[in-house]
């Protein structure tokens, strides 16, 4: 019998996330943000973090708003949802105040960087970005952002090279994992498979833990095999307020409330900061566990409503 990698989120974060770590963040926009893991990182106050991802959403924004992030490398910082401006407001506030670096890439460049990382390559050719200001500006702490070479097989053709991205830790939330760490993702996978394989350590939270006997009956359903995974956290509704496909829809009302607090911090000075601090205190710091948070946002009856919303669109 292989050893189980199941542990609590506080143990996983305590063991694998350290001050100064670079963290690959899963999820995209309003789906699959690893919120339970992000909340625990805030509670354990892991500092000086660098976040990597394609569409850094609310998990990243909470870490930024808690003052724990020094740099993002990403395609966007975006929580866009209907009736809400798309910018992640803590990211905007910290960037505009000069307290956060954002290394601007775009989604193709980021996924290519993870692709290089997962294949053990130093860099990956990318044919976008040329002619744009993504190549004109770089964050102050970035060394060499890119290189342009001539295609050795087609003289005169420019080829852009982007460096491999190899985060210290990846944090993702998925539908199912077995006890040894075989990951089964449903729905679109965005940049997750490449990012996970490129990362040195991987923490996965999931809606359900299944038996590896079950995995082995249908091994073609495995998205990521166990050899990449280091910690498994069972946390139903672990991406709230973002959605997990087939399980529950996005909690638009809660997301909007979060954005309003972050917007207040951006625009209303100290009283606005209070409202954001209050959010962090109420929904993250004063909760011993993510289950406590789920109770505060409406508990089982709220979850039932979010499940109904998911059924409606499937």
């Amino acid at each position: 019998m292989r050893n189980s990698k199941i542990m609590t989120v506080s143990e996983a974060v305590g063991r694998f996330i350290f001050d100064g770590a670079s963290i690959g963040v899963g999820g995209m926009n309003v789906v699959g943000s690893p919120m339970a893991i992000a909340h625990e990182i805030v509670r354990q106050k892991k500092k000086e973090l660098t976040l990597l991802g394609c569409n850094l959403s609310v998990a990243a924004d909470i870490l930024i708003g808690a003052g724990l992030v020094k740099k993002c490398e990403c395609g966007t910082c975006n929580i866009g949802c209907r009736g809400m401006p798309s910018m992640a407001y803590s990211a905007r506030k910290y960037y505009e105040e000069g307290k956060l670096e954002i290394e601007d890439y775009e989604h193709l460049a980021m996924v290519s960087r993870f692709l290089a990382g997962e294949m053990g390559l130093p860099f990956m050719p990318v044919m976008s970005c040329l002619g744009s200001d993504i190549l004109r500006y770089k964050a102050p702490s970035t060394g060499k952002k890119f290189e342009i070479i001539e295609n050795p097989w087609n003289s005169g053709e420019k080829v852009l090279l982007m460096p491999a991205a190899t985060p210290d830790v990846a944090i993702i939330h998925v539908q199912k994992v077995d006890e040894i760490g075989n990951v089964i993702m449903e729905g679109f996978v965005a940049h997750t498979p490449e990012m996970v394989r490129a990362s040195k350590k991987v923490i996965v939270s999931c809606e359900e833990i299944i038996s590896s006997e079950e995995t082995r009956n249908y091994p073609e359903m495995t998205t990521i095999p166990h050899i990449y995974v280091h910690a498994i956290v069972e946390q139903p509704c672990g991406s709230h307020p973002t959605a997990t496909l087939r399980y529950y829809g996005c909690d638009v009302e809660h997301l909007r409330m979060y954005q309003e607090c972050a917007e207040a911090a951006l625009k209303e000075g100290s009283s606005g900061m209070e409202s954001y601090e209050h959010y962090l205190q109420e929904y993250v710091l004063s909760c011993a566990t993510f289950d406590d948070y789920l109770e505060k946002v409406g508990g089982v009856s709220r979850l039932t409503e979010l499940r109904r919303r998911m059924r409606e669109v499937m």
Binding site: N29, C54, T76, R82, E106, H107, S128, C129, D133, Y137
Partner: protein, 266 residues
């Protein structure tokens, strides 16, 4: 027909949908492009294929999604895949016919800015950044851009080029090394339709400059109104066409797809 009550923003979406042809592969961005593409799919282009940046391939949309990655956008897709496949394979290797993007700052060469207003390091406003817009602008065979027409959006020169149009002239993209260096770029607003003058050769005339020109007006809109709301000198063409009025069926379908008018709020 003439009595049909509609808003110019609705007609903007309906007009934009007509630039998608049946059978095409369309990469869509958040917001108005999703609505216009869904409209095209349900009206005249049942064989078009939508691809969405999160990895969704060929969804059959019913209601307008909340965002580019939400659960609504996965409805009855042919495949829920990965970002690597959508960007690396479908887009970068050149399979996308139309890159369809939404509002941002736009300049006279149809460059788009969704990154910062003001200085990059000390900006007045920080926006989300490129996302999928840059690779779409680089690799699609054709570009459609849909946005409300406001002077603050239409500027002479973008503060930051997130996604390249013609960069600084007809050969701007070629000089930068982009493979798709002579795409058609069309911008549809609630006042007019513009395109990039990207003609390489004109019999007994000079080639295009890569700058935007006015090609169609919304019904009831004047050239002066367009000029007033544009922060650079548009190339004028004559005669300027007028956009067709919407039909009842186009309007009712649009209102069915987006019953709450989600993307008309700003």
């Amino acid at each position: 027909m003439g009595d049909t009550v509609y808003e110019n923003r609705e007609l903007m979406v309906i007009e934009a949908s007509k630039y998608i042809r049946d059978g095409e592969i369309v990469f869509v961005g958040l917001g108005l492009p999703v609505i216009a593409s869904t409209l095209a799919q349900r009206m005249h282009a049942p064989n078009m294929t939508l691809v969405i940046e999160s990895g969704v391939i060929d969804p059959q949309l019913k209601l307008v999604p909340l965002s580019i990655a939400d659960e609504r956008i996965t409805r009855k897709a042919a495949m829920l895949g990965s970002l690597r496949e959508v960007f690396g394979c479908i887009l970068q290797r050149g399979m996308v016919d139309v890159g369809f993007l939404g509002g941002a700052q736009i300049d006279q060469y149809a460059n788009l800015n969704s990154t910062v207003i003001g200085d990059y390091y000390k900006p007045k406003v920080r926006f989300p950044g490129s996302g999928g817009a840059n690779p779409a602008a680089c690799h699609a065979k054709r570009l459609l851009i849909i946005t409300p027409h406001q002077q603050r959006r239409f500027v002479k020169k973008c503060d930051y080029i997130t996604s390249p149009g013609y960069i600084d002239g007809l050969y701007g993209r070629k000089n930068a090394g982009l493979r798709k260096w002579n795409p058609s770029i069309t911008i549809i607003t609630d006042l007019c339709v513009m395109d990039s003058d990207s003609t390489l050769y004109r019999y007994q005339g000079s080639p295009g400059s890569g700058q935007l020109r006015l090609v169609k007006l919304m019904p009831g809109t004047t050239v002066e109104q367009v000029v007033e709301n544009t922060g650079f000198e548009l190339i004028m063409t004559s005669p300027v066409d007028v956009v067709d009025l919407p039909t009842e069926s186009e309007l009712s379908l649009l209102r069915e797809i987006d019953p709450e008018g989600i993307y008309f709020q700003e």
